[in-house]
């Protein structure tokens, strides 16, 4: 109940700034452009695909790249959304309102997390309108589509949790944004090194750490519980760290 009140306030403030609207518009525009060019390519390739047995369908060729691009773009956008969560409240001294209200630190953090997630779910829904629109022209693999949507939502939740934590560490929103982006990019590319290390267990570990790997396997329609657990663990770790960091404010200034 209290968490929802806090989440609602966060979401409302987000939409009261032009930031949320411009992010929605720009991301949607870029993805629509990519979607259309992918669709165009598919239409050109279609005669050839018909001749191949077990050829990849529209879902693999149009929709999978769409969600892949969405994930990549959001990696750059989410730091902008999460940077102000705690740092700006600290700066404006409005954190005292929450700290002296009868709410716990966990409620504050989870409320803020869910507020951003509300925005990101809306954005995912807007993106998903595009593939769903293909249903009017033919059939798509709905199972695969839902796996991709789930993958994207989990990935975005992971990004958000990390961004929220970075925001609890600093007074400067821009510092939070830059560190979030850096950390996300590192986690994105960490398996590139893994491929070259050569050492079996090291490369296994590095590719397990990569956020992209788990997202890709969901994007192929492989519903592996270890991927889901990876994201849930990732989210939980950073939310718990954020709660502890916020609590530490009270103890040490």
């Amino acid at each position: 109940m209290m968490i929802l009140t806090l989440a609602q306030r966060e979401l409302r403030s987000l939409f009261l700034s032009p930031l949320a609207w411009s992010i929605l518009a720009i991301v949607q525009f870029i993805l629509a452009y990519l979607f259309l060019s992918q669709l165009n390519e598919f239409i050109i390739l279609q005669p050839q695909l018909k001749m191949i047995d077990n050829a990849p369908g529209a879902t693999e060729l149009i929709i999978a790249p769409l969600y892949g691009s969405a994930a990549f773009i959001m990696m750059m956008v989410i730091p902008l959304l999460t940077m102000r969560l705690i740092s700006e409240e600290r700066r404006n001294k409005s954190l005292a309102l929450l700290l002296s209200a009868p709410v716990s630190m966990s409620e504050i953090i989870i409320g803020k997390f869910l507020g951003i997630m509300g925005f990101l779910l809306l954005m995912t829904a807007l993106i998903s309108i595009m593939p769903v629109a293909l249903l009017t022209a033919g059939s798509i693999d709905l199972g695969l589509l839902s796996a991709m949507i789930l993958g994207l939502v989990l990935l975005l939740a992971g990004f958000t949790a990390l961004g929220l934590y970075m925001s609890t560490l600093t007074l400067q929103p821009t510092v939070a944004a830059v560190s979030t982006f850096g950390a996300l990019l590192l986690l994105w590319i960490v398996d590139w090194a893994g491929d070259k290390v050569g050492h079996e267990s090291a490369s296994g570990l590095l590719s397990y750490l990569s956020m992209l790997r788990h997202f890709e396997s969901l994007g192929k329609g492989v519903f592996n519980s270890s991927d889901i657990i990876y994201y849930l663990l990732f989210i939980t770790v950073f939310i718990v760290l954020s709660i502890r960091r916020l609590d530490a404010d009270r103890l040490q200034h």
């Binding site: 209290m2 409302r12 403030s13 309102l97 002296s100 009868p102 709410v103 200034h253």
Partner: protein, 319 residues
């Protein structure tokens, strides 16, 4: 719980920032229907103490009970009974006044059906009726301050903690806020910190002075007023006699020349030799020009207490 006499009882509170002892063994109580004024120079630990009793900071050690509830063990229950206005009002400037207060009402767990009433009352008390639909960001500093106060009293808490509530207000608003504080003091307990000394005399029942993290003075306002009564006279004479002759007059303890034929005559508390002095002056043709009791202001008391290295801790554990 509501009948509990002491709304706040703070015992042996300590807080340090590294080597700096911001709050050093502070203990005090607040009763229902009492307005407690916190005085102290900048950086004395007033705001830190207020942040600790509202749960914004954890004490290094010490115990804080809010209406009998331990703030550290039951923070949610205890915090529900406190309304707090920090030095800088905590506002979401992108919201309108109504939206913001609505959020505060929900945040303080006011039941849904009572929220509208609470909102209306808080707005009426702080004179915000006309600006309900305006963005907080576009309000003047005084109005923002009032929104901050409205936020602190919206859930009619047992205890209202106000950190310099009249900063940035115009004289009329200051009077309104002082009246509001008095009004709140009737049924709630109010803790108020301020730099404006007359404000304390006008609004508070009890005064505490904090200096360097320690409570150096704690007394109720009546005693304080008594402390401020005259203990010296200013005597102006055209032909002043020798000091010895004045000292011989009953009740005169010391004579201090101030120049321009004015003298400061010190006397015991409540035993003014004014009458005797006047008679002597006329009989001896000293040329009496001036005879005024010199009252000590709160400012002098404040300066005396906070500037001395060595201070008595009057009534720190009493009251």
């Amino acid at each position: 719980m509501m009948t509990s006499e002491h709304l706040i009882s703070v015992e042996h509170l300590y807080r340090h920032y590294g080597p700096l002892q911001a709050v050093n063994n502070v203990s005090f109580d607040l009763k229902r229907g009492e307005v407690l004024g916190f005085l102290g120079p900048n950086g004395a630990g007033k705001s830190t103490t207020m942040q600790i009793i509202t749960g914004n900071l954890a004490p290094s050690s010490g115990q804080i009970k809010i209406c009998g509830l331990d703030l550290l063990d039951q923070p949610k229950e205890a915090k529900a009974r406190i309304g707090y206005l920090p030095e800088q009002p905590p506002l979401y400037r992108e919201l309108t006044v109504d939206e913001f207060l609505q959020f505060c009402a929900r945040l303080n767990r006011i039941p849904r059906d009572k929220q509208t009433g609470a909102l209306k009352q808080a707005k009426a008390r702080c004179g915000l009726e006309a600006v309900g639909s305006r963005l907080i960001n576009n309000l003047s500093k005084g109005y923002q301050q009032r929104v901050g106060i409205a936020q602190a009293i919206i859930h009619s808490p047992d205890i209202v903690v106000l950190d310099e509530p009249t900063v940035g207000l115009d004289p009329i608003q200051i009077r309104e806020i002082r009246n509001l504080i008095r009004e709140l003091g009737q049924e709630h307990g109010v803790i108020l910190s301020t730099h404006i000394l007359p404000e304390v005399q006008m609004t508070c029942d009890r005064v505490q002075i904090i200096n360097r993290g320690q409570l150096v003075f704690s007394d109720n306002i009546d005693n304080l007023n008594q402390r401020m009564t005259a203990r010296s006279l200013i005597l102006g004479l055209e032909n002043p006699p020798a000091t010895d002759r004045l000292l011989a007059i009953h009740g005169v303890e010391s004579v201090e020349p101030l120049g321009e034929s004015r003298l400061r005559i010190k006397h015991a508390e409540g035993q003014s030799p004014a009458q005797t002095l006047a008679e002597a002056a006329i009989n001896n043709q000293w040329g009496l020009m001036e005879l005024t009791p010199e009252t000590q202001t709160l400012e002098q008391i404040f300066v005396d207490i906070t500037s001395t290295e060595y201070h008595q801790t009057t009534g720190e554990h009493t009251a």
